[in-house]
Symmetry: C2
Subunit: 528 residues, 2 copies
Amino acid sequence: MTYTDLDKTESYAKLKVLAGEFAGKETFQKLDAERVAEYSAPMACGLTYNYAAKKLNGAVIDALEALAREIDAVGKYKLILDGEIMNTGENRKVLHHLARGRLGKEVFFENKNIGDFYKKELERFSTFASAVREGKINPGAGKKFTTAVQIGIGGSDLGPRALYIALENWARKEGKAKITAKFISNVDPDDAAAVLSSIDLTTSLFVLVSKSGTTQETLANELFVKDKLKKAGLDPAKHIVAVTSETSPLAHNPAYLDSFYIDDFIGGRYSASSAVGGVILSLAFGPETFAGILAGSHEADKTALEPSIRKNPALLDALTGVWERNFLNYPYTAILPYSQALSRFPAHLQQLDMESNGKCVNRFGNRLSYATGPVIFGEPGTNGQHSFYQLLHQGTDITPVQFIGFKESQLNDDVNVDGSNSQTKLKANLAAQIVAFAKGKQDSNPNKNFEGGRPSSIIYGKRLTPETLGALLAHYENKVMFQGFIWNLNSFDQEGVQLGKILTKKVLAGGGDLDGALDAYSKILGVK
Amino acid sequence: MTYTDLDKTESYAKLKVLAGEFAGKETFQKLDAERVAEYSAPMACGLTYNYAAKKLNGAVIDALEALAREIDAVGKYKLILDGEIMNTGENRKVLHHLARGRLGKEVFFENKNIGDFYKKELERFSTFASAVREGKINPGAGKKFTTAVQIGIGGSDLGPRALYIALENWARKEGKAKITAKFISNVDPDDAAAVLSSIDLTTSLFVLVSKSGTTQETLANELFVKDKLKKAGLDPAKHIVAVTSETSPLAHNPAYLDSFYIDDFIGGRYSASSAVGGVILSLAFGPETFAGILAGSHEADKTALEPSIRKNPALLDALTGVWERNFLNYPYTAILPYSQALSRFPAHLQQLDMESNGKCVNRFGNRLSYATGPVIFGEPGTNGQHSFYQLLHQGTDITPVQFIGFKESQLNDDVNVDGSNSQTKLKANLAAQIVAFAKGKQDSNPNKNFEGGRPSSIIYGKRLTPETLGALLAHYENKVMFQGFIWNLNSFDQEGVQLGKILTKKVLAGGGDLDGALDAYSKILGVK
């Protein structure tokens, strides 16, 4: 396998020429029913990716496909699936796909079959979650656990929390919601204190999540929780389970009710498919619900193997993002789900994307001379329409947009006003926005003029379920992975967070060797 | 008063020259205790604005001050305070400052004294809120109201919600938290359904907020709520109060328990200081708490009158933002509060900033040829450190950052681990991040190398209270206002959201005159 910087590929020069010639405005004026039908690709689990309102034409798509072939994007994905060391910075395999099912070779590490290991842990925490939900595992005194509290930060928080919120209503509707989940993440003591004051400790089970077992925030919050449990006369060992790696200080530790294992081959932001997401989601919604998420992700992982980009939405989305970032020069992307259930999904994608591809060196450590990962932000529609959409419509810069929408609500509890129900209004707003961004509207009052030419794509489906949610999750993971291949960087490490950690330790150690500014900031903040 | 496009000012050319000459790297290498002490400005309510880690030097600050003088930024602010028509697009006064106290002339409209009107409404809803909190106004059957649910979207949601979350813990600690607030905003029926299933309708009071009384989402959610109230055998007229303008269909309407009034001179995103924020916050935390927020904002409004930018943090922050946007060419800004209580404050600021200054025409309707409002995003630290900070530290583009931090937590419920409590760890992380961004760190492994040179400022104070929160809120409002003056645009209208509304109505009307693409998107989403 060869690895080439984007600007050294043959396709790069061709795309530069195309970007110079490209009459984007025409594309948007040509946007009609035929184009909407044509620029559409099936995704896993009945989802569809529609890119008719993107600044693309046949020639650009063909050139993007040539780029994908030239760098062998799908071949690199297959190396991941086969267990090659694709996290080169940390000398690790990248195996989050394997947590949802095998698509490549059997993967071994130090004679251990990793697929079997993931499967075994999945079975173990599924059994555990069922026993808790049925009351077989309980806090004693004739009670059942009613609340599960995840203690974790970053990938141990954002992904699992986004998925929990995404399925909370669905689970209530389907009769799967037995245990309420809460989340403690921030080292700000007000976070833990507020969560703990909102729950009944006697019936609460804590899920302590730290791969290394050394995460500062998580350990501080663990002590916080243990302290409260003890003060309430409860035994922490009966109220906390750990999710950690087998080599961490938290592993095989009688201080916990049980422990479930992960390994170094699944990075934090990719860990929702492992025990990191699995324990809390299985407790809350049942193991069969978590299995549904994994099944949806696995189906999306299969789709990402398709060599033709018109049939591979993750790869097409990735290439379109590169087209927008490196050839049309848009520095950010908004992700706008028309689904209240996905209210925290953009925050997860912000981590997934920005932490993976916010890098300025290639996989060999050479400084890149082109832009990589964009800033990702978003809030659910229609809320955003009454907020930052003003800038998206009439700001001086163009922000590419990706919408997500569903035909049906999750709860199917709706009201009819002025001849339509709320779900229909939600969808009508979404359709209207795509066209408003693309086509704009001429107005003699310049303040009411919409220039249009603002590209968007949409992922849509019937209803947000465990399966469609899993497919969505994997779509974005695979999109980010493919973009990492195209930018020739390592999407799977995060050295950029290390310096802060080191300096924090310095401050807390409080030695006299502090940098003058560090010392000064510590003082004005009252650290010492 | 004269109004000049930024690129037509004398200062513009000087700043362009300075930007070309400016050795930003040197600034950061020079960052030491002395500079931290010098680049500091007092704010209202004991807050401090520190800009030592910004890419600024004395010459740039002087040039920015000259720009502020040249366009008479403070003079324009005074016109706002005096009730001039400064929302030129909609031919309206801009009076959110007046809602917290008078700093200019008395303002009249159609012989009505607007300051008196705001004061009267404040008194009315304060009295109402006290009566509800004391149980004098109650749902009958010997019960008290325990829950207040705001129904509103955009400015009727984001600001009030952010402030509520910001003071929830403070109020619990101070014994002010009597009524729990919830919020319904999205037209997605899953939003309202989920909130309603989490509360006891018999003891819930709904606050219906729509200035025009015609907001599609809010009216749909009102009907949704009324329907549920009726099905529960409750009289909606005893469970809903309205916050609206006196000319709206919701005004003076016996369908509501009471109504509180706002007017067209306070835009949605500036309305947290009016009855839009006041009713729900006074119900939840008491009128004296809301008065504290207003007092803090009023003090910040006074500070914004200061002509010297080194003593006027809102103006300095505004100018620094313009320096970064138009001269250093950074397209976005991250706002990162090290306070879990401010978890939704960035979402409010995203609306405030992007809806106000995401415009491409000047106040006279001429197309601008320079960049205006940036994309604003943010999440609380330390959470963000484990997420998108990777890109902030090592991404190919530079993202200016504004931190917010406090010496003390709100609940003062903390735990000691490894020789420090969590609040100290939070602050140590914050100090470390500023220095890490500014100075970076050379490493022979390029993947671990931090280039530094990434600018940040910090607003810090003792503790997040109603007063400091009010000062923060007004700081950002005034910053955005000053930037609007500098960019010579109208920050107070939002024509960019209109086209979507018009197209949505077209879709819902379902006529045969739909644009082909609009029709096609409506069909694939199952609108019809």
